[in-house]
């Protein structure tokens, strides 16, 4: 029993277990809830919660008529899932650590915050223009053989790789 507990809650999962668990969400959500897997549209809920009186057309559409719809609960669950995972591994409740980035880059907190905020800004705008994110396009869309998802995914990966190369050279100093 200890082995099984450690396998699920303590040790990092092997890639195949994570892939199967995440992939199963697509058919399960269709079968039981007739809903496509996707996260990024839910950020519209959060925008609308901050500015409920907005007159912007996109935010007044029926997608966001109820900001406490399934997307909100799904996102809240994902935060809880991350919380449980880190606690079961015995990680501290908050950390400034962001892997290689915070290990190499010696910036003040404000600069780090701005860097990650800008990354998020591009993710938010890019996901909306492209019509989805990694879960909606790359997993749900590719599994359903959508051409737009293939094109979006190619650009996600290509420009991710180019940007990481640039970060290595110009931010990490060639490491």
């Amino acid at each position: 029993m200890t082995n099984l507990y450690n396998f699920i809650f303590v040790d990092p999962w092997p890639w195949w277990l994570g892939g199967i668990a995440i992939g199963l969400l697509v058919p399960v959500m269709y079968y039981f809830l007739n809903t496509p897997l996707g996260v990024s549209t839910g950020y519209g809920n959060l925008v609308k919660m901050i500015i409920p009186k907005t007159k912007l057309k996109w935010l007044t559409s029926k997608n966001f008529a109820d900001t406490l719809n399934w997307r909100f609960f799904f996102m809240a669950g994902m935060i809880l899932g991350g919380f449980f995972s880190a606690r079961s591994m015995g990680f501290p409740v908050t950390t400034m650590d962001m892997g290689r980035f915070t290990a190499i880059v010696d910036w003040p907190f404000l600069s780090l915050a701005v860097w990650f905020f800008c990354g998020g800004l591009l993710l938010g705008l890019g996901a909306r223009l492209a019509g989805g994110c990694t879960s909606g396009h790359s997993i749900h869309g590719l599994a359903n053989l959508h051409i737009s998802s293939l094109i979006a995914t190619i650009f996600f990966l290509l420009f991710g790789a180019i940007t990481v190369w640039l970060i290595r050279v110009f931010v990490f100093g060639g490491i």
């Binding site: 699920i8 999962w13 994570g18 799904f74 991350g82 915050a113 996901a127 650009f155």
Partner: protein
């Protein structure tokens, strides 16, 4: 149990899985893009194959859900903004070491900088809402 509680539970499952397999780990995302460690690429490929087979299975049993309701898969539209959006998204993915789903797992894990990525995503979504108001063609 209401649908919303089901979605909350599925979200916990999703966030937990992303975190356990390392999808919310900056170093693993960085290493996927440099090619040093393709763990996350294999996770994505396995997820696509699993989802594809699951959808085939649903098709084989008549394309109906558990209550007999017809399952509709709407094609995501392809337009001239798919590629530019993908480019911005890819750059953001590399800068923040996160995507819209994994950043939620990061916030739950307690990564303070992930919270700024999430705030940035809210701002980016708002900018889209502003842009689409001026240029209705942007909406897909």
């Amino acid at each position: 149990m209401s649908n919303k509680m089901v979605f909350l539970g599925l979200g916990v499952f999703f966030g937990f899985s992303l975190s356990r397999v390392g999808a919310s780990n900056y170093d693993l995302i960085f290493a996927m893009f440099t090619g040093e460690d393709l763990t996350l690429a294999w996770v994505i490929i396995t997820a696509i194959i699993t989802a594809f087979l699951g959808m085939k299975l649903i098709g084989l049993i008549g394309g109906k859900g558990y209550k007999g309701q017809k399952i509709t898969v709407n094609k995501k539209p392809l337009n001239q903004f798919t590629a530019p959006g993908g480019i911005l998204f890819g750059i953001g993915w590399a800068i923040s070491g996160a995507c819209p789903g994994t950043v939620l797992a990061q916030v739950g894990e307690g990564k303070t900088l992930g919270l700024f990525t999430m705030l940035g995503m809210i701002a980016g979504t708002y900018i889209y809402a502003l842009l689409v108001n001026k240029h209705p063609k942007l909406s897909s």
